[in-house]
């Protein structure tokens, strides 16, 4: 019951996943009151207003895009993919942490995941929503997006299944569907809790509808558990497959810097890396503003930092192997590509990427750094930036000088590129603000199951 317990415990890895002293009702009360009791605070309004303004910027950018065409962006020949694809890969990557936390860690019985999995999953869904915008918007004729789907039509035309973009359509849509289902199914008991605790009638009705008649009977619980495990089982391969397929967009092509067998593992690691960075980026302020330090403890932050460190090292290995193979293969185009990355017009981006993704995160080896919330927050932000730069290097820097020197060119994003990018951040944050305002951002059910455990641990101490 020591209020300063978290500060006193140096060994964050030994810290409990739920601060001791919570009872079943206190957990329920604490989480549900954020939605039901707290009301709309000024702080929330302020943050939401900014996010919503950015979302409106996105609307403007998209409207202008649809009116004029993709020429408003900086893309050109030979750099026919620019910010849109960079952002797509970045957002998809960010989503991965949520799935990893909710599915793989569930299957691995990592109890610490419980308090972060709900908003990590929300993050996944919102990130996928942002990501999904880009492949649509970047098309020359987005209104014909359905040509990429296999649908029966009089022309007997099907998508061209050899194209990784078609695989992408399946991978991303499957991912979005499974993630949404998983998130929603997991939330049903909590929605029922909110329904039961809601004071006003509209809230009761809405939560009631969403709770789908949950009454907490044993049969319900049994089916709920089965569904969770099944969905977790479904989602698990997606953690690996989605970004693998996204990496095929590049590795199947023959562009030097894209055409590489290391891409699938290196993309998956990078995705988890950036995803955990984003979870940390979100968890730290939420934990602070909603006083959830006892639910999202230092143990969580420490574990996530470790995952980041581990995946960061895999990513670093990817960079090293890319460079090594470029020389070892004796392929002059690959060699030129690497040299151009390191010394060409975009060398500063490459070295900034190395700094952000490899050099700076090494501070996480230190436990003190992992326990320092401000530093951890900064490192997480740096990794977010670094992973964005990585995609920029892969997409733009590889394309800008490929085989035929006469066709070389340089890429410069326009204000509309930035507006669209910042706009999707607005979309993401807007959805996230709505989420924390109207839905239980931590799984009440799962946290309750932890109460007993932590209390036992606390007593043992």
């Amino acid at each position: 019951m020591d209020p300063e317990g978290s500060q006193n415990i140096n060994e964050a890895s030994q810290a409990p996943v739920l601060e001791p002293g919570h009872t079943l009702s206190s957990v329920t009360e604490k989480i549900s009151s954020i939605v039901l009791g707290r009301g709309t605070t000024k702080g929330w309004m302020f943050g939401f207003a900014i996010s919503f303004a950015l979302l409106m910027l996105f609307n403007v950018a998209v409207t202008y895009l649809l009116v004029k065409g993709v020429g408003i962006w900086g893309i050109r020949i030979p750099i026919a993919w620019g910010f849109a694809i960079v952002n797509f890969v970045w957002w998809i990557g960010i989503g991965h942490a949520g799935t990893l936390i909710s599915a793989i860690l569930l299957l691995l019985h990592q109890k610490w995941r419980t308090s972060i999995n709900r908003f990590a999953e929300a993050m996944t869904i919102f990130a996928v929503a942002c990501a999904g915008m880009f492949p649509l918007l970047h098309m020359g004729r987005p209104w014909l997006f359905y040509y990429l789907m296999p649908y029966p039509n009089a022309m007997w035309m099907w998508p061209q299944f050899r194209s990784p973009l078609v695989w992408d359509v399946f991978a991303v849509s499957t991912y979005a569907t499974v993630s949404l289902l998983f998130w929603f199914v997991g939330m049903v008991p909590d929605l029922a809790t909110l329904r039961d605790r809601a004071k006003n009638r509209p809230a009761r009705i809405i939560y009631g509808v969403l709770a789908m008649g949950w009454r907490g009977s044993a049969v319900h619980w049994s089916r709920y558990e089965t569904a969770s495990i099944l969905l977790a089982g479904l989602a698990t391969p997606l953690v690996v497959s989605v970004h693998t397929v996204v990496s095929f967009d590049f590795s199947v092509a023959i562009v030097p810097g894209w055409h590489s067998t290391i891409f699938p593992p290196y993309f998956v690691a990078g995705a988890i890396y950036s995803g955990f960075a984003m979870v940390i980026t979100l968890a730290i302020p939420i934990r602070k503003f909603y006083h959830l330090e006892d639910l999202v403890t230092m143990r969580h932050l420490d574990n996530m930092a470790k995952v980041m460190l581990a995946t960061g090292v895999i990513v670093a290995y990817g960079y090293m192997m890319e460079t090594f193979i470029a020389f070892y293969s004796g392929n002059q185009y690959d060699r030129f590509m690497i040299m151009n990355r390191m010394t060409g017009p975009y060398a500063w981006v490459y070295w900034l990427l190395i700094t952000c993704n490899i050099v700076i995160p090494q501070v996480l080896w230190s436990r003190r750094v992992r326990n320092s919330i401000p530093i951890l927050f900064v490192v997480a932000l740096v990794v977010n930036v670094g992973m964005w730069l990585e995609r920029f290097v892969i997409v733009v820097v590889s394309l800008h000088r490929d085989y035929i020197p006469s066709a070389w060119g340089t890429y410069m994003p326009t204000r509309w590129d930035w507006a669209t990018y910042v706009g999707t951040i607005g979309l993401f944050l807007t959805l996230f603000y709505l989420f924390i305002r109207f839905l239980p951002m931590i799984s009440i059910v799962e946290m309750r199951s932890l109460v007993e455990e932590t209390n036992e641990e606390g007593q043992a101490k």
């Binding site: 098309m139 020359g140 004729r141 998508p159 194209s163 023959i254 035929i404 020197p405």
Partner: protein
């Protein structure tokens, strides 16, 4: 309506005020800058009074969107007149009789297009009465089937919505009959002598127009005929006069020449007969086997040109030093007396000169020395003398009577006119074509002088700088709308027959305008031309009908080539050669400027042609602008770099320009192309570039020293489609891109010696190794398998293919801004690579259409199957299916795909509908496009052959690029047929694929370049 010139016009008073103002401003005030002058209140008042509707300033920064908007508005009128009117007179198609037009089947008619008076014979494709595409006329000696950029793009000018459409009198719309009344007045007033009547023409080679003009002079004996054209070959005439005493016309036979020396002559892409010359020249460069004997070309030039790029030895030399080099070469050949120490020439050793002289002497009778049209008379005279001394006359060069009917020196002739105008001797000036207010030498002050003329009449395609200063402007007919005749480079006369009735009621040809002054006004130009020939020919009635039809059909009048005449060189011509021998190159780095015709818009007449404006110029790849082009070392010395916006001052005159560093340019010299900085060209042409005419004066029209260059501190941004060099601020260049091209074997090149030692030098062993390494089963090409071969040894980089492709395939013009953004739409581009230092690199051209890979990387990545493989091996684009992911472009190693980032095609301007090829889809926004090997032509030929139950014959399908190529460098055909021309070319040892090791199996392959350097020259 018509003002009586005898009564004092109140406007003259205003004019006097303007003159007073001008006089007041003093000597340093140059009127040539019209903008400047128009700022004076009096002048503005005058203009307003004189041309009431015209005081609005031209839009300054004009972008593509504005062009579209304005074009749409102005095209409303264009739309009213139908585009499909056939001429009312009987015209004769080239191939098939016109009993009926079969919808969907184009007809071809022979005609000729003149440039600076010299005609190139053409076959023009007509779709339902609309001329849409220009091809060369294989039977015309000036073409032999080839064309150039100007002829290819001319069809766009026909449909230009900015063309002048109605007769304009004093700024108001008038009509032809009113003009006819005015001309009748002129006739009445000028009778009987016509001492106040002046006719100013461009170069006239038309026999019938000449006859008409001459008839006027019999009527008005004191009238005068002045002739001025910026590129009117004044120096060729002057040189011939110097050498032979008369202005004979030299005709070259490059196919007979083993050794060629070009003294600043860009004979492959500019000047009289260049289309034919490119064909003749390249015919000596088809290296079928190691035993082939190619020609050898030496070039001494200032600005790197296409001809320079084809040289086996090239030296950059200032334009003003070319005479020195010519003198030295002549003295080595024993032609001109070497007067002691010949001046040292920067960069040219005497060994080099001597080696050339020796080479020439070893090829007596099969060598050729050519002088550039911009070089002074001396150089021409020396070239004639050298050719005579080498026994080349009658073999590689012969002389004919001049092509032009009035072989006068243009600048002199215009100078006389200006003097007369200033002296008030000119009552009526009839300007038939040309734009002297824009392009006359600056010291003539042509504009103000023109205002002294009481009645000024202008005929031109555009209501341009000259038109707006004339009381009468009569829109001229385009050559595709009017009858006429013109001489080719060798004198052969071609009949110009119209493909379409004039698009606008107001348009009339020079023939009709001249007829108004003559004895029978009102004759149509068909009658004028036909009657002239009826009078000339011995055949009468039916026989004449046959002759006429045959001439129209063939496009030429047989037997009209000018015969070779024997000329004897005057003995004294060598003397003035070195009268003054200034020690030019010793120390003083006096900056020189040389003026040249723009490779795309010529003297400015094509300024409003979007295809030409957007055409990347040879070597510089610059579009939409001219530039002050200098060498890297000079740039460094002057501490300027590409993009610096500078003032160019020459003898107190000034213009501004952006600097562009050009590898291989001569030191201490600036080249500025003419034709840009137009003030009244139209929505496309008004604005871009810098007006070189502001500082070009009559004493030194082509090269002048004493140029001062002053930085303004501002930057100018050029739209360049290919950056071969990355040049830093100190002027140091790194040749990253070009280097990479050679490392990657994109340009395969060997010397003749190396080629003979190893004929297979271009083969890539990695390519063979990678064959068969594919997951997908190969295609079986059982019927036709289309392929293309491009001979880098022949390609002269003239860009004709680029414009031909644009015309054939309805390729959009995107504008300067979009070119800068990397979105030019050309389906074929002429890649240019340099090898060697910045000072004098070797230059290589490589035309890049789609490679039509058999294992096409674009096809597998398209998610919707919009780009697919045809059974004949084409990579086909289905525009309807394309959703625009652009993945195919990323995955194309050759980057030949083009994307419609915006709605680039002009869907709004009705007059531009006419120029479109009806067999090619006009692309919409958001779809990818690319070279199709002109699939519409392939299919047309296949349908025809199937109707006739036979196979498509070799040579039956000619792609647009191939058809346009003057050098015969591009060959297309069925590679499944081992006897086809393309299959045989591909079987040559020089054949290689680009990036063959990627296993793309390109159908377009290249024949490697073989240089033929002089073994005695070691560099």
């Amino acid at each position: 309506m018509s003002s009586n010139p005898n009564t004092p016009d109140p406007k003259i008073v205003d004019l006097a005020a303007v003159r007073a103002k001008l006089a007041q401003a003093g000597q340093n005030h140059f009127w040539q800058s019209l903008e400047e002058l128009s700022e004076t209140k009096e002048y503005r008042e005058f203009l307003e009074h004189e041309f009431p509707h015209d005081t609005a300033k031209n839009p300054e920064g004009i972008d593509r969107r504005d062009v579209l908007k304005l074009a749409a508005a102005s095209a409303a009128l264009a739309g009213l007149s139908a585009c499909t009117k056939l001429p009312t007179e009987k015209i004769v198609p080239y191939v098939r009789p016109p009993e009926e037009i079969i919808p969907g089947r184009p007809l071809f008619y022979a005609t000729s297009m003149q440039l600076a008076g010299v005609a190139t014979g053409l076959l023009v494709e007509s779709n339902m009465g609309r001329p849409t595409k220009i091809e060369g006329n294989p039977e015309h000696p000036g073409s032999l089937g080839g064309t150039d950029v100007f002829t290819q793009a001319s069809v766009l000018t026909l449909y230009d919505p900015d063309r002048s459409q109605t007769v304009i009198h004093e700024g108001r719309i008038s009509d032809w009959s009113t003009f006819g009344v005015a001309m009748a007045d002129v006739r009445g007033q000028q009778s009987p002598k016509g001492s106040g009547l002046r006719i100013l023409t461009e170069t006239v080679t038309s026999p019938s127009l000449t006859a008409q003009i001459r008839a006027i002079f019999t009527q008005f004996p004191e009238a005068k005929w002045h002739q001025y054209e910026q590129f009117g070959r004044d120096n060729v005439r002057a040189g011939a006069k110097l050498a032979f005493g008369k202005p004979v016309n030299p005709v070259y036979k490059f196919d007979e020449a083993d050794v060629i020396v070009s003294l600043d002559a860009d004979f492959l892409t500019a000047g009289a007969g260049h289309v034919r010359y490119a064909r003749d020249f390249s015919s000596r460069r088809s290296m079928e086997s190691p035993s082939s004997n190619p020609n050898r070309l030496y070039v001494v030039e200032c600005m790197p040109t296409s001809t320079g790029a084809m040289a086996d030895h090239r030296k950059p030399v200032r334009a003003s030093e070319v005479p020195d080099f010519a003198a030295r070469l002549a003295s080595e050949l024993g032609v001109a007396p070497s007067n002691g120490a010949s001046p040292a020439l920067q960069g040219i050793s005497s060994e080099w000169t001597r080696a050339i002289a020796k080479d020439l002497q070893q090829h007596r009778g099969s060598s050729l020395v050519v002088a550039g049209e911009e070089q002074p008379a001396r150089v021409h005279a020396l070239a004639h003398a050298m050719n005579a001394a080498l026994g080349n006359v009658g073999k590689t060069v012969y002389y004919t009577d001049p092509l032009d009917a009035n072989p006068v020196d243009g600048i002199e002739s215009l100078g006389d006119l200006v003097n007369d105008m200033k002296a008030g001797k000119v009552d009526v000036l009839l300007i038939l074509g040309g734009n002297p207010v824009y392009d006359a030498p600056a010291d003539f002050d042509f504009g103000p002088a023109l205002l002294n003329v009481k009645l000024r009449i202008h005929s031109g395609l555009y209501y341009d700088e000259t038109g707006e200063l004339c009381q009468w402007h009569v829109p001229a007919t385009h050559y595709l709308e009017s009858w006429g005749d013109a001489r080719a480079y060798d004198g052969t006369i071609g009949i110009i027959q119209p493909l379409i009735a004039p698009l606008y009621e107001g348009c009339h040809s020079a023939y009709e305008i001249t007829a108004l002054l003559g004895s029978d006004p009102g004759k149509s130009n068909h009658e004028i031309v036909r009657d002239y020939w009826a009078g000339q020919r011995p055949e009468k009635e039916k026989a004449f009908e046959d002759f006429w039809e045959r001439s129209l059909h063939d496009g030429i009048i047989p037997g009209t080539a000018l015969p070779a005449i024997s000329v004897s060189a005057r003995s004294d011509f060598a003397k003035p050669v070195r009268a003054q021998a200034p020690a030019t190159a010793t120390s003083s780095p006096d900056l020189e400027i040389s003026f040249r015709a723009d490779p795309a818009i010529f003297d400015g007449r094509f300024a409003n042609n979007g295809w030409l404006q957007e055409l990347p110029k040879p070597n510089t790849r610059l579009t939409w602008d001219n530039a002050a082009m200098i060498s890297a070392a000079t740039a460094q010395r002057l501490s300027v770099t590409t993009g610096d916006y500078v003032k160019l001052q020459l003898n107190g005159r000034e213009t501004k320009a952006g600097i562009m560093i050009v590898p291989g340019h001569a030191e201490n010299s600036v080249t500025l192309h003419l034709g840009y900085g137009r003030r009244r060209a139209g929505k496309v042409g008004t604005g871009p570039g810098f007006n070189a005419n502001f500082i070009r004066t009559s004493p030194s029209p082509w090269a002048a020293t004493g140029l001062r260059l002053e930085k303004t501190g501002k930057q100018y941004y050029f739209a360049v489609t290919q950056h071969q060099y990355i040049i830093d601020h100190q002027g140091h260049g790194s040749e990253e891109a070009s280097d990479a091209a050679f490392h990657r074997d994109l340009v395969q090149v060997a010397t003749l010696e190396e080629f003979r030692a190893n004929p297979n030098f271009a083969r890539d062993p990695n390519e063979e190794a990678s064959r068969g390494l594919t997951l997908y089963p190969g295609f079986k090409y059982e019927g036709y398998a289309w392929g293309m071969s491009i001979d880098l040894n022949k390609c002269v980089g003239c860009n004709a293919c680029v414009v031909a492709c644009q015309s054939e395939n309805n390729i959009a013009v995107v504008g300067k801004e979009q070119v800068m953004a990397g979105r030019a739409m050309h389906w074929i581009r002429v890649d240019t690579y340099f090898r060697g230092g910045l000072e004098n690199p070797e230059m290589y051209y490589e035309p890049m259409p789609c490679m039509q890979c058999e294992n096409a990387p674009c096809e597998v990545v398209c998610p919707v199957g919009a780009t697919t493989h045809s059974p004949e091996g084409l990579n086909e684009m289905t525009y309807n299916r394309c959703v625009g992911t652009r993945y195919c472009s990323n995955n194309c190693p050759y980057k030949v795909r083009r994307f419609n980032f915006f709605l680039f095609s002009d869907w709004q301007t009705p007059s531009l509908y006419g120029v479109r090829n009806p067999n090619v889809t006009v692309r919409s926004r958001g779809v990818m496009e690319k070279c199709t090997y002109c699939v519409q032509r392939i299919n047309a030929a296949k349908i025809r052959s199937e109707e006739e139950n036979r196979a498509v014959q070799d040579g039956e399908i000619v792609t647009a690029c191939q058809g346009a190529c003057p050098a015969d460098a591009i060959v297309f055909g069925n590679i499944n047929d081992p006897n086809s021309r393309v299959a045989k070319l591909k079987a040559q040892s020089r054949n290689y694929s680009l990036l063959g090791e990627l296993n793309t199996k390109p159908r377009t392959t290249y024949l490697a370049r073989v240089r033929n350097p002089n073994p005695e020259i070691h560099e």
